[in-house]
């Protein structure tokens, strides 16, 4: 009990509150800018957190992520250009409302749904994470090794249409993550006699390069030489009923909102699915069950509630596998895992045992972040709307320069800037050639832990290759790994076959009509 009170008191210290507030505000602002999302913002701001206490740093980054999730809805509603992929479903109903002059009402619905979904999900995280972590403590290295194997195979399917390319990306991420000092011999491995590689590649330059710099390279491709330009001015209706959201309007969608939150929690707690899946699933369910199906896609507040409650509830729910098992469920959780490691903590079941006070402090910050999001969103909505009009000529040089200097900031090393540029270059090709940079990054982060678990298994079992068969949970997890790979292959082969049959049928039809 003392730990809980001490942790909660830490979360309301002036420094924690200030950085949490700044994190949420900056997150909403960044999320509102099309093309910049939560994980990218975390990558850009992690270097700053070097200079904060662990609680302030994690609180700041969590606030940033929560803010960015709602911020994504701003450009989705106002411009039909989702700031983040998960906000795409929000744009389907938000933008038609903007065209009717009801953009502010749509944004208010998005805000309240986001806050509600996020709050419910945070409460679920607080209630179930610690008991689950206590169970997870019984897991040995064999189970951890098997669990990471499952996570890597599930995650390999994210962000690519091919499981083969996903596994190649994860394999490359693991290989890059193994560069540095080998844990058993304490000798350099795969360093190619470059002394800066002796301690391995830092997460910050790799993440900034893959997430932020490569994304900017792609976005600049579209606008380079065209001068960028701003979007057309957004007109809000001056009528109060078009601007404000009544209690009746909000509460008439409460069922959809709760359903969306539950879908978001379920999806977020499972590694590999991510917020866009939750958002689309919730929207689809809301449309199927709605009494006003015909309004969907034309400006339905219910559609916005479904999408926003689901995608925002993924934020806290994705921390469940991270806190319980040390497995990041999505990119944002992977970046937060990196932040934990930078501050000397290893996410996983031991986190609750070794850093109980900090964990309760983080819980306090998570709850406060929901409150700050409500307050900042409520009073700053009109100002955040202006963020969508930041000229490209100012935005992109700022982001590129921040990427470069942010990479330098971590170790005050220009070598890290070179690493960032290298991974920006690699990330550009990965995106263009459909190789999952998400799988790469998660493989990179999990590689040392995976190897440590394997080394422990080999040492404990004295090289017994049947070690996994003696541990039922590990055996089930390894079988699950094989099942996931086989199933994904089967699904992708079938999808390819179906595509070809359709293409052949279309070609035959074309031939006949000719």
């Amino acid at each position: 009990m003392e730990m809980i009170i001490a942790g909660l008191l830490d979360s309301v210290s002036p420094a924690s509150l200030m950085f949490l507030l700044v994190g949420v505000g900056v997150g909403v602002l960044i999320g509102a800018i099309p093309g910049i999302n939560g994980p990218m913002a975390i990558a850009l701001f992690i270097p700053i957190t070097y200079y904060m206490t662990p609680l302030t740093a994690i609180g700041f980054l969590v606030g940033l992520n929560k803010g960015a999730f709602f911020g994504g809805a701003v450009s989705a509603v106002l411009l039909r250009t989702p700031g983040t992929p998960e906000a795409a479903a929000t744009s389907w109903d938000g933008y038609p409302l903007t065209q009717q002059g009801k953009g502010e009402k749509a944004l208010r619905m998005a805000l309240y749904s986001s806050v509600a979904g996020d709050f419910i999900s945070t409460v679920v995280l607080i209630v179930i994470a610690a008991p689950l972590a206590a169970v997870a403590l019984f897991m040995g290295p064999a189970e951890i090794f098997a669990l990471i194997s499952v996570a890597l195979t599930v995650i390999a399917g994210i962000g690519t249409s091919s499981i083969c390319r996903g596994l190649m990306a994860a394999g490359l991420g693991i290989m890059v993550g193994l560069i540095g000092t080998e844990p058993v011999t304490a000798l350099p491995r795969l360093t190619f006699d470059v002394y800066q590689l002796g301690s391995g590649l830092s997460l910050i330059p790799v993440a900034i390069g893959l997430l932020a710099f490569s994304e900017i390279l792609l976005q600049l491709e579209k606008i380079a030489g065209k001068g960028g330009g701003s979007h057309a001015a957004i007109a809000f209706s001056k009528k109060l009923e078009d601007r404000l959201l009544s209690f009746k309007e909000f509460f008439s969608n409460i069922k959809t909102l709760l359903r969306g939150s539950l879908i978001g929690i379920g999806v977020g707690a499972m590694p590999g699915l991510g917020a866009p899946v939750a958002s689309f699933m919730s929207y689809d369910q809301a449309m199927k069950r709605s009494k006003k199906k015909e309004e969907f896609g034309k400006g339905s507040l219910e559609g916005i509630a479904a999408s926003e409650s689901a995608n925002s509830s993924v934020v806290a729910a994705s921390l469940i596998p991270l806190f319980v098992l040390g497995i990041p469920g999505n990119l944002a959780a992977a970046m937060l895992m990196g932040a934990f490691m930078i501050h000397g903590m290893q996410p996983g079941p031991l986190l609750f045992k070794e850093n109980a006070q900090l964990m309760y402090g983080i819980y306090g910050s998570l709850l406060l972040a929901s409150l700050f999001l409500l307050v900042i969103g409520r009073f700053g909505l009109r100002y955040f709307c202006k963020a969508v009009n930041i000229p490209a000529m100012i935005l992109y040089p700022t982001v590129v320069f921040t990427c470069i200097m942010g990479s330098y900031l971590g170790k005050s090393s220009m070598f890290d800037v070179g690493v960032m540029l290298t991974f920006g270059f690699i990330g550009y090709f990965m995106r263009k050639f459909d190789y999952s940079y998400v799988a790469f990054l998660i493989g990179f982060i999990l590689a040392p832990e995976w190897e440590r678990a394997l080394q422990q298994v080999v040492i404990i079992s004295e090289h017994d290759p049947f070690m996994f068969f003696q541990r039922p949970v590990a055996m089930v997890l390894m079988a699950l790994t094989l099942f996931v790979i086989a199933r994904t292959f089967w699904v992708s082969i079938n999808a390819g076959r179906k595509k070809r049959v359709e293409a052949a049928a279309a070609a035959a039809g074309q031939h006949k009509s000719d």
Partner: protein, 172 residues
């Protein structure tokens, strides 16, 4: 070039990379087995092995597809200009090497130049070039953005975080 041919070249390059890693890099730059635990080379070999296996499998898929001459899906018949949609879900598309070079070369030059001429001058010049590449032709705005960004980052690093900016300093 069709997408399927581009993928074919990529897979062949990946296979070559894996062979190089397995035959030279891993044996050369991995410590010898100390006699306990797993070999330090095991995990690198496993990860490269997975990449190699998947690349070979992909090559087989592509080979079968080309050999049987099945009509490929629409997007594989002719490489699209840009498959990207506004939602940002997919960014698969044609590589624009000229664009890539126009951003990467000034960035690499910045890293080199900063060590010789210092942060202020190198950053200012880099930001001018970058804005020009993006398409900015309003010189006053371009110069102002370059000056302000350079100064703000300097103040944040030097006084906010107490980190010395890279390279020789003209004001110190």
């Amino acid at each position: 070039m069709t997408r399927i041919k581009r993928d074919l070249i990529a897979y062949l390059l990946i296979v070559g990379f894996c062979i190089l890693m397995l035959s030279w890099a891993i044996p050369e730059y991995t410590p010898a087995y100390p006699g306990y635990g797993a070999s330090p080379a095991l995990m690198p070999i496993v990860s490269v092995g997975v990449i190699l296996f998947m690349a070979c499998l992909s090559l087989i898929f592509v080979g079968v597809s080309l050999y049987t001459n099945k009509p490929p899906p629409v997007e594989e018949r002719e490489f699209p200009e840009d498959l990207d949609d506004d939602s940002g879900f997919t960014q698969v598309g044609r590589v624009n090497l000229a664009h890539l070079a126009s951003i990467m070369i000034p960035s690499v030059l910045l890293v080199v130049a900063i060590e010789y001429i210092g942060y202020m001058l190198a950053s200012f010049a880099f930001l001018l070039v970058l804005q020009y590449v993006i398409g900015s032709r309003k010189w006053l705005q371009t110069i102002m953005v370059a000056i302000i960004l350079t100064a703000v980052l300097y103040v944040v690093m030097r006084y906010g975080f107490g980190v010395p900016v890279p390279g020789p300093q003209i004001f110190e």
